[in-house]
């Protein structure tokens, strides 16, 4: 008899994993289905990593405004529990023209009404004091000290790992292509024929939430990808501000930001463009010029010489709706929608998880705490943050690989990389997101092969196979002198 899970979560982004982590505390059996080889490989991968301040939207008239603020406040506890990189560095929305001051005042009033702690309207002098790297003239700013930055991949990975440690099952490369209502449960079939049964289903499929909704005969809607390009600068860039710098927002976007990332680099972006193709991950020459131009105007020291890399990702926007779609489906039984989770989805994610848990209860699923204690997740230490004495101790007591620096740019040890591979992050991309190895200024030029060799070693495959695996088998690699295939 096939096991029937209480809950199946479709999608391993920030929403899916936050729900998984929350439900892992309950007396429930939970499975998470991810179509990619790893979690955090869709929308969340290209997230800017901002923990927003709770003033961009009204907490009374929008769901996302309410959940943003509640989510923001949950981050300290989550970080204590999971150990991902997070800093409450503060957010500064800066007016670079006098006529923008009115918008700042409106945002301030909204923040006050929402109950944002410590929010402050600053004059030009105070603004420059708070952030000396701003390019004058500035006319004033809105300061939200509770805003911050987080490393999105480490956040998602640690949520997933902690959930798995506490009984949640993860099915990777499981793209749901069909569903069947069996009365008491749903049966979901993957592209490769595997099946999973669950009583309740949460649709957290990001850009593909419309497709999934349709597969279950639930609400019909259209997800429109709104693409954003980001440009990453070297950790030694002079531009790195102490706070997240926002321009005054327009009607559709918060604008191009200058972000002191939680990983120690500086990031500029994103753009916001509606695109046709959900798989579009391109960057363009036009947007590169535009982003650098805008960022340079806001913060001094922004230079293309410091460019490490660029990337893009799309926000999953529901056509005709700017708010989150969090609801019990009115059409499909025991089916919950978590769709249209665009900005500030990452900030709101702990509150989204809580909200979805309440919806599950409303839909008839009894929510009770697990009788056994929740097992704490211990994240792998990062060599970069260790004192030499501590690194030496780990070398002696745990593993000599601790003092083997594989990624020189981000200072990642062999021990961290092997641990990541064993946790299932067994591709170059997975290792990079889990450890930062290959994310630095040489972009894997020095360490890429070393990491592939470690992957091959851990998986017991050849280096050639490890390379081919990186491109779904499309790489035309061959052994020198070997026969033409």
């Amino acid at each position: 008899m096939e096991n029937i899970f209480d809950v199946a979560i479709i999608g391993g982004g920030i929403v899916g994993t936050a729900v998984a982590y929350r439900l892992a505390h309950r007396a429930l059996s939970v499975v998470l289905l991810e179509k990619e080889p790893d979690v955090c490989h869709g929308v969340s991968k290209a997230n800017s990593g901002i923990v927003h301040g709770g003033f961009h939207y009204s907490a009374t008239t929008t769901l996302k405004g309410r959940l943003e603020l509640r989510g923001n406040q949950a981050f300290d506890r989550l970080q204590r529990e999971l150990g991902f990189p997070f800093q409450r560095c503060g957010i500064l929305v800066v007016a670079f023209a006098e006529e923008q001051l009115a918008t700042l005042e409106k945002l301030h009033a909204q923040g006050v009404a929402n109950g944002v702690p410590g929010i402050e309207l600053c004059d030009a002098e105070r603004t420059l004091q708070l952030e000396p790297k701003l390019n004058p003239p500035v006319f004033g700013s809105l300061y939200a000290p509770q805003g911050g930055v987080v490393e999105p991949y480490r956040l998602v990975f640690s949520l997933m790992s902690a959930a798995c440690l506490n009984g949640v099952e993860l099915r990777r490369r499981f793209e749901v292509v069909a569903s069947r209502n069996l009365g008491e449960s749903w049966e979901m079939t993957a592209a490769d024929g595997r099946t999973v049964r669950a009583r309740y289903v949460i649709n957290a499929a990001g850009l593909y939430a419309d497709v999934v909704s349709s597969l279950f005969g639930a609400e019909e809607f259209q997800i429109t990808p709104r693409k954003g390009e980001e440009y990453l600068l070297d950790r030694m860039s002079q531009a790195r501000p102490s706070k997240v710098i926002f321009p005054v927002p327009s009607a559709h976007t918060k604008g191009v930001l200058v972000i002191p990332t939680a990983g120690g680099t500086t990031m500029i972006g994103p753009t916001a463009e509606i695109v046709e193709d959900k798989a579009d991950r391109t960057t363009t020459a036009k947007n590169k010029e535009r982003i650098f131009g805008l960022a340079r105007k806001m913060v001094s020291g922004v230079s293309e010489r410091d460019l490490v890399t660029s990337f893009s990702g799309s926000r999953p926007v529901i056509e005709g709706k700017e708010d989150f779609f969090l609801a019990i489906s009115a059409k499909a039984p025991r089916f919950l929608q978590a769709a249209g989770i665009q900005s500030p989805g990452l900030t709101a994610s702990p509150a989204i998880a809580e909200y979805l848990e309440q919806l599950l209860a409303e839909a008839g699923l009894p929510i009770k705490d697990k009788p056994s204690p929740f097992l704490p997740w211990r994240s792998t230490p990062t060599l970069r943050d260790l004192a030499p004495q501590e690194a030496d101790r780990l070398h002696a007591t745990d593993n000599p690989a601790w003092t083997n620096v594989v990624c020189r740019c981000e200072r990642v040890s062999e021990a961290e990389i092997r641990a990541a591979i064993r946790q299932g992050h067994d591709s170059l991309e997975g290792v990079k997101l889990a450890t930062r190895a290959g994310m630095g200024r040489c972009q894997g030029g020095f360490c890429g092969l070393k990491i592939l060799r470690l992957i091959a070693d851990e998986l017991g495959i050849s280096l050639e196979e490890a390379i081919r695996r990186e491109s779904n088998g499309k790489a035309q690699v061959s052994i020198l002198g070997g026969k033409e295939k």
Binding site: S310, P388, R411, I467, S471, A475, I479
Partner: protein
């Protein structure tokens, strides 16, 4: 944590580090080379082609042969070696320096040294650093990574390749890939002249009929799960002409678009850099702005030939040895600035002692068939001239200046004038 003590610590075990260590140890100084790789020799180990050593050893060697030569010189002279060992930090320590070294074998080692020679070499600029638009797909390598894959691992990365940039590694790889059965479609160079040596253009491209498109920029990389094509367009009067855009199908893209000295460690310990070279600002002893820390090889400025790296490393070693003996002072008296003038991109060193003989390395900004190198003082008086032929930005110019030429000067400028 282990503690070790040396008179001279050399960071980097490539051509520069090994040549410097050989000279330091031969002069009787207790010397250690700290190398992060598993083997000594640096990038030479993957350069299995010949053409090395014509100036320094007066014979034609392959990269590994050259590496073996300088390694035996260093080890015969009695230098010590730490491999799989990464220097994480350099901090001041009394009159010397303290290096925090992470080693797979030994754990954390604290190395004390009176003098430090920076010889970390350089890294390749990559696709990400340039912000080349398009899809993010596998099949894109920097030329050196592809060289390592092919020469060290015996793995051919694809079937049809496009090479972006005409740096020497890219040119060498065009030939290497062709030999391995890969069709190299073309080499794209954004500048109106090649970035690599003329001999490599002839021997690696022309001999194999590989087209080199000058004044041409890559405009995108396309593909779904893997590289499928590359688009490029010519620059007309410095502006990209997208109406003449072309697409070429390929499964591999190699980038050979310049080298960057690896000076992050140097910057963190306060060494001031020259924005033109990305290398340290040095005086004529090759000492950086931090007393007792010297720099040579590709971490100081990117060289065209390894032979010049070894020569520079020897001069650097000589200074470090004299520093340990108290013969080079932290503040050298009589230092005057040496600046690049017309048609000169940079000059090394950046400060010299007037009246001493000097050895200068410089690079041109443009092609000059007949030129004169001129050194003028702050009054505009010409102190030195030398005729040069076939000046190329890709090829370093080396000048020996007799001491009497610069006596009493308060500042000097070196320029290249067209004849």
């Amino acid at each position: 944590m282990k503690a070790l003590e040396y008179e001279i610590a050399v960071i980097g075990g490539g051509a520069a580090g090994l040549s410097a260590a050989a000279k330091c140890a031969a002069s009787g100084r207790r010397t250690v080379v700290i190398e992060r790789g598993e083997e000594l020799g640096g990038v030479l180990l993957q350069c299995i082609h010949s053409g090395f050593g014509l100036h320094y050893f007066r014979e034609e060697l392959t990269g590994p042969e050259y590496a073996t030569r300088v390694l035996s010189q260093a080890s015969e002279a009695g230098a010590g070696f730490l491999v799989s060992a990464t220097v994480m930090q350099i901090t001041p320590d009394g009159p010397g320096h303290l290096l925090t070294v992470y080693s797979r074998q030994e754990g954390v080692i604290m190395v004390r040294a009176r003098a430090v020679i920076l010889a970390m070499g350089c890294r390749e600029r990559c696709r990400g650093n340039l912000g080349v638009p398009g899809d993010r797909v596998p099949g894109v390598y920097s030329a050196g990574t592809a060289q390592q894959l092919l020469n060290m691992e015996g793995i051919v990365p694809g079937r049809r390749a496009v090479i972006v940039g005409s740096g020497d590694i890219g040119l060498i790889m065009a030939r290497r890939l062709t030999w391995s059965g890969v069709k190299v479609e073309c080499v794209l160079e954004i500048m109106p002249y090649p970035a690599g040596l003329s001999r490599n253009i002839a021997q690696c491209l022309e001999d194999f009929g590989i087209p080199l498109h000058l004044s041409t920029a890559i405009t995108g990389i396309q593909g779904k799960d893997h590289v499928e094509s590359v688009t490029f367009a010519p620059l007309v009067n410095g502006v990209l002409d997208l109406t003449q855009s072309q697409r070429v199908h390929c499964d591999t893209v190699l980038f050979s678009v310049g080298l960057v000295p690896e000076n992050e460690l140097s910057r963190e310990c306060g060494v001031q850099l020259n924005p033109k070279t990305g290398g340290a600002l040095v005086d004529d002893t090759l000492m950086t702005s931090v007393p007792g820390i010297f720099s040579c090889g590709n971490v100081l400025h990117v060289h065209d030939l390894v032979d010049f790296v070894s020569q520079e490393a020897e001069r650097c070693a000589d200074s470090a040895v004299r520093y340990c003996a108290g013969a080079v002072h932290d503040d050298q008296p009589g230092l005057i600035p040496l600046e690049p003038g017309d048609n000169v991109r940079y000059v090394v060193p950046n400060q010299v002692v007037a009246g001493n003989p000097h050895h200068l390395f410089l690079r041109a900004t443009t092609i000059l068939e007949e030129a004169v190198a001129e050194i003028r003082d702050t009054e505009g008086t010409c102190r030195f001239t030398r005729r040069l032929r076939h000046v190329r930005p890709a090829e370093m110019i080396s000048l020996d200046i007799p001491g009497d030429c610069t006596a009493d000067a308060r500042g000097l400028t070196v320029a290249l004038e067209e004849k």
